[in-house]
Amino acid sequence: MSQQRKAVALISGGLDSLLAARVMLEQGIHVEGINFFTGFCVEGHTHAIRKQDKSKAKRNNALWSAEQLGIKLHIIDIVEEYKDVLINPKHGYGKNMNPCLDCKIFMVNKAKQWAEENGFDFIITGEVVGQRPMSQRKETMPVVSRESGADDRLLRPLCAQNLPETLPEKEGWVKRDGLFGFSGRNRKPQMELARKYGFEDYAKPAGGCCFLTDESYSAKLVDLWDARGSREYEMDDIMLLKVGRHIRPAPHYKLIIGREDGENKFLQGYKNNYITFKTMDCPGPLTLLDGVASDKDLELAAQISARFSQGRDKDSVTIEARRTNGDTTTLVVKPMPASEVNPEWYV
């Protein structure tokens, strides 16, 4: 009896990686999933922060995929190592701050290391030739294989028939005619395959699964780096970029203004790291000030914060400014009229 071969599947939580793993299971391969957490993953965080989303049933789509497949899933924290991928991408950025090609190379390399440490024979991904403008083009497929070090141990079951034979095919571990030749951005073949396998409630993220592909998020990240004069970040920085309105009235400070109760509560957790503002005589947002601020800056910040409170049409609003050491100052300010909030301040 021949030895059962083992594949580690990159599971994003989307349809393609789900199908790729399913195709391998059908060929009798032992499959386990691996999912990487960069800190920029869309799912989870905003659901957890925003109150209005809390009533919706939440699920982690990578875990959901693994459960549908009946395979184990290993979730790996790569937040620290990922910084170098984002800050110094050899192949550059996509439309926004998304280093998609370097990201894919990095993740396949990590999966290769994991496979070697755990006695797995090859790696599979849900990539499809021509599906993504940066990382999933015919020209970049061999780049990912080569630069990740996976070489011919990287198999893409959904488009393998468009690519040279890989080791699992050459060795007869998998049958090439049981793989697919999908290409391009048309999702119909995948949807048809999903129907065949009985997958119905799979994730369909409208804007992808990474905040770095988002124009608004990328602008906030660039602003953060510009303001600090350094392309560095910590986990709290990238979390805060997902939350609230970001308004920069001056180069040396930025305001992060909660948009609803869930965000206000989340921002409250940073009161010992940032100056905070809250309205005292009417409901209003919790505002953080990131940077250094003079008394004049505090006054302006309070006026802007009051503009987003329910007292925006009042003659004055009382705001408590709290410094990180717990000292507080009470400011009575006139809310800034909408017309005076410079549109260029919005990050």
């Binding site: 957490f37 939440k58 459960e67 184990k72 899933l73």
Partner: protein
């Protein structure tokens, strides 16, 4: 058999799952781990992770804006 606790407060999913996964690797079959978190997503994600990885959820509960999940480590 021993009981352990994991403080995952102020972490957002999937970090509590990652921390629980890494902790459970260090434990023995029959040990129990209670994960305390503030992200309600933990109530779905830890049970899902436990099901697919062959561990047993003994209890889930919520109190005072915190969630608790008790997992028994099984032989996988």
């Amino acid at each position: 058999m021993a009981h352990f606790e994991l403080d995952a407060r102020r972490m957002f999913c999937p970090m509590p799952v990652i921390r629980a996964q890494d902790k459970i690797k260090e434990l023995q079959v029959g040990d129990t781990l209670e994960i305390v978190a503030t992200d309600p997503g933990v109530l779905n994600d830890i049970p899902a992770w436990s099901r697919i990885n062959g561990h047993k959820v003994l209890e889930t509960r919520e109190a005072d804006d915190e969630v608790f999940v008790l997992v028994e480590v099984c032989d996988t």
